[in-house]
């Protein structure tokens, strides 16, 4: 077993643990902190079903952002949608036999072209961050670094088209990690770069602004029903003030 395989294999376990345990812990925290007051923003739904519809529209279409900043919406949505398509394409490396719909030509092709779309979106966001004075003002180094990180992931992934690796061996490596039966990872530079950047992204996820992903579902302005007059909404710590 090569050193590269041991390092990457161990890092995969470590990063997976951080990512899932970290996000699970954040979700636990968000879910257990009370929201003592009703603060939904309009148009606020009256029912839980309405809240589900609202969150669906936010998650899938970025509805608020659409009304707010059209270029940011366009680039941001392109990036996120491309990420989803790329994720679908990559499932072929982790499923055996490959899930039927993952092997569809359209899913594979879309996943490939998504790389260009993702780069377009990310570069658009980067340009906005650099050239719009208001956005430049609020940007911390980490805001640029996260963009560079994801651009690096997209670019290194795309470049593997020209610097190919042994994808059969790669798949054996991934499956080996999943089923605890390790096999060698091909040591091509572009692959190692691509995987290394993905691992880094997984590790920083629960400690960075990437928490916006679970955060949106816990945003009281978006996930509350507008029913303050109909039923009494009170947090436990607030109830204690009443005695």
């Amino acid at each position: 077993m090569s050193l590269v395989t041991i390092i990457y294999g161990s890092l995969f376990y470590f990063a997976t643990l951080i990512l899932f345990a970290g996000i699970a812990y954040r979700i636990y925290e968000y879910a257990t902190i009370p929201a003592p007051l009703k603060i939904p923003t309009p148009p606020a739904p009256k029912t839980k079903r309405g809240v589900a519809v609202r969150l669906f529209r936010e998650v899938v279409f970025f509805e608020s952002l659409f009304h707010s900043a059209k270029w940011t919406w366009l680039f941001g949505w392109l990036f996120h949608f491309a990420l989803l398509l790329a994720f679908f394409r990559h499932l072929r490396y982790a499923t055996d036999p490959v899930w039927f719909w993952v092997s569809w030509e359209i899913v594979q092709a879309a996943g490939h072209y998504a790389a260009y779309m993702m780069l377009l979106g990310l570069l658009g966001l980067l340009v906005r961050r650099i050239f719009v004075d208001r956005v430049r003002h609020i940007s911390a180094p980490s805001d640029y670094l996260i963009l560079f990180l994801i651009i690096g992931i997209a670019l290194s992934g795309l470049l593997m088209k020209w610097y190919p690796t042994d994808i059969f061996a790669l798949k054996q490596f991934i499956l080996g990690l999943i089923y605890f039966n390790w096999s060698e990872l091909p040591s091509d530079f572009m692959l190692l770069l691509h995987l290394g950047l993905v691992l880094l992204l997984m590790i920083i996820f629960p400690y960075s602004k990437l928490l916006h992903a679970p955060g949106l579902f816990f945003s009281p302005t978006r996930n509350q029903t507008d029913t303050a007059r109909d039923s009494r909404h009170i947090a436990d710590w607030a109830r204690k003030l009443e005695s």
Partner: protein, 499 residues
């Protein structure tokens, strides 16, 4: 207090987003609260010795009590979508008045002390130590937020800067740095019952005078009762309604509506204030204490319904929080929502044909409507989504012949704050108030030019007071701001029952 000279923003035909000017309004900070007012609210009288630790403890405490605060400090992507949405940024050009700029003042400290990357790599993630300079910035810029929530509507994550500025004010109060205007007023309500510090005899006197005025004008005995037990309705209205123009015209209008509909109602000297400044300082305990006065008055006067007069943030606390703070209201008539807005009452009576109007009585006015931020973005009316937008407009259309809305991007859920909300309606912040009024004034100017609009109706005491100043400042007439129920009162046909 004399207002220092400051550059007057130009009213442009089309609003544009200014280039930023760092620290443009860092010098603006309201007067600090004196010891006696701090202590009556349960806060230290001056900056405590270990204020850094105390402030961080308080922040930790709030992070466990308010999901909004925690999620919003974590979830901002720094995408910039909010940066051109705040009226104070548009009016002052100060980047700390961009919603995300304002949030980052607290977020950078949160990151430093409560997150792993901020502890070990502060520069990388923009985390900063809590220094005296940071505290001073908090004091300036968290008192340049009117908690109007326009940014929250536009944020892809729904991050509500109001939640963050309320938390910041609560943290500052807890270490002894409070704002004079808000805390003095809260003290007056705890002690006397209303923001103006108007005691019961003065209130009774004022209402009696009002009855005489109305009698003189329309020769009908419209009553403005105070502390009348066993009335059906307790009306809770901002104390500004008892005094100043144009507020009092609204109160006259409510009385006429109740009179014409034959409803028995009363005001209360114990709960003689609809406003709840406890919200502005982010203090649940003070907000609850103020809200309890309304419950106590309702029980004491043995009423069946509670109705609120025209007041924006009061309606937010009433509609969204009253049941939480002072509920349950199971002793009131279950046929009516608790509480109701005066506009809901009037609207229902119009639907039932109880009220008839002679619209021509308002023919000297071409009216537009200013959606007050707390009504538009933090409450509702009626039982349909968007009722807070349609009901006031339907009332205006029922009572006037000439109504035009301002630009779509400046009304309803996208409405601009008047510039004086959130506890900033104080003379020591006049520069901020006038600059913050700019987006609304620009939108108003367009309908004035295009449709000949002469008056702007509002349903908020703060908006009305603020516009009374801002209209004059920007070259309009100060009496162009009116109460919505002034239109109702003017046009209401009062002798129908005798006919």
């Amino acid at each position: 207090m004399a207002v220092k000279e400051f550059e007057k923003p130009e009213l442009k035909e089309y609003s544009d987003v200014p280039l930023l000017e760092k620290k443009a309004t860092a010098h603006l900070a309201p007067f600090k609260s004196k010891e006696e007012f701090q202590s009556s609210l349960g806060y230290p009288g001056e900056l405590v010795d270990n204020w850094q630790d105390a402030a961080l403890d308080k922040m930790g405490d709030l992070l466990k009590k308010y999901r909004s605060l925690r999620v919003y400090l974590d979830s901002c992507i720094q995408c910039g979508a909010c940066t051109d949405k705040c009226h104070y940024y548009l009016g002052t050009k100060d980047p700390s008045n961009m919603p995300v700029g304002r949030q980052n003042l607290l977020r950078s400290v949160y990151r430093r002390y409560f997150t792993l990357p901020g502890k070990y790599f502060p520069k990388l993630v923009g985390a900063v130590d809590l220094t005296k300079e940071v505290l001073d910035d908090w004091y300036s810029y968290y008192h340049q937020c009117s908690q109007c929530r326009r940014c929250a509507v536009f944020c892809p994550m729904g991050i509500d800067t109001a939640e963050i500025s309320m938390a910041a004010r609560e943290i500052m109060d807890s270490v002894g740095v409070g704002q004079k205007y808000c805390n003095e007023i809260i003290g007056k309500v705890h002690k006397i019952g209303n923001n103006l510090g108007l005691p019961e005899p003065a209130l009774a006197d004022t209402l009696e005078g009002l009855e005489e005025d109305v009698k003189d004008e329309i020769d009908i005995d419209v009553k403005y009762p105070l502390d009348q037990k066993d009335s059906d309705i307790l009306l809770v209205t901002p104390s500004a309604d008892f005094f100043a123009e144009p507020h009092v015209d609204g109160l006259i209008g409510y009385g006429k509506v109740f009179h014409q509909a034959g409803l028995s109602w009363t005001l209360s000297s114990h709960a003689s204030e609809a406003a709840n400044f406890g919200m502005f300082i982010g203090s649940y305990a003070n907000m609850r204490k103020l809200a309890m006065r309304i419950r106590e008055a309702a029980l004491d006067l043995n009423v069946k319904r509670i109705v609120f007069g025209e007041c924006g943030h009061a309606w937010r606390v009433a509609y969204s929080f009253l049941n939480t703070l002072a509920g349950p209201f199971d002793f009131l008539d279950p046929k009516y929502p608790v509480p109701q807005h005066i506009c809901e009452v009037t609207y229902d009576l119009i639907q039932k044909n109880v009220l008839q109007f002679d619209k021509s009585a308002n023919d000297d006015m071409v009216v537009t409507y200013h959606d007050s931020c707390n009504v538009a973005r933090a409450s509702n009316m009626g039982d349909v989504i968007g009722g807070q937008f349609t009901i006031p407009r339907d009332i205006i259309r029922a009572t006037t012949n000439h109504f035009y809305d301002m630009d779509e991007s400046t009304i309803k859920e996208k409405t601009f704050c008047c510039g004086g909300g959130g506890g900033l309606l104080t003379d020591d912040l006049m520069e901020l108030r006038m600059k913050g009024a700019l987006p609304r004034m620009e939108a108003l100017k367009r309908v004035v030019d295009d449709y000949g609009v002469t008056h702007m109706a509002a349903i908020c005491a703060i908006c009305k007071s603020q516009f009374s100043k801002a209209l004059g400042y920007y070259g309009f007439e100060i009496d162009q701001i009116i109460s919505l129920h002034q239109l109702v009162g003017n046009a209401l046909i009062m002798n129908k029952k005798e006919l």
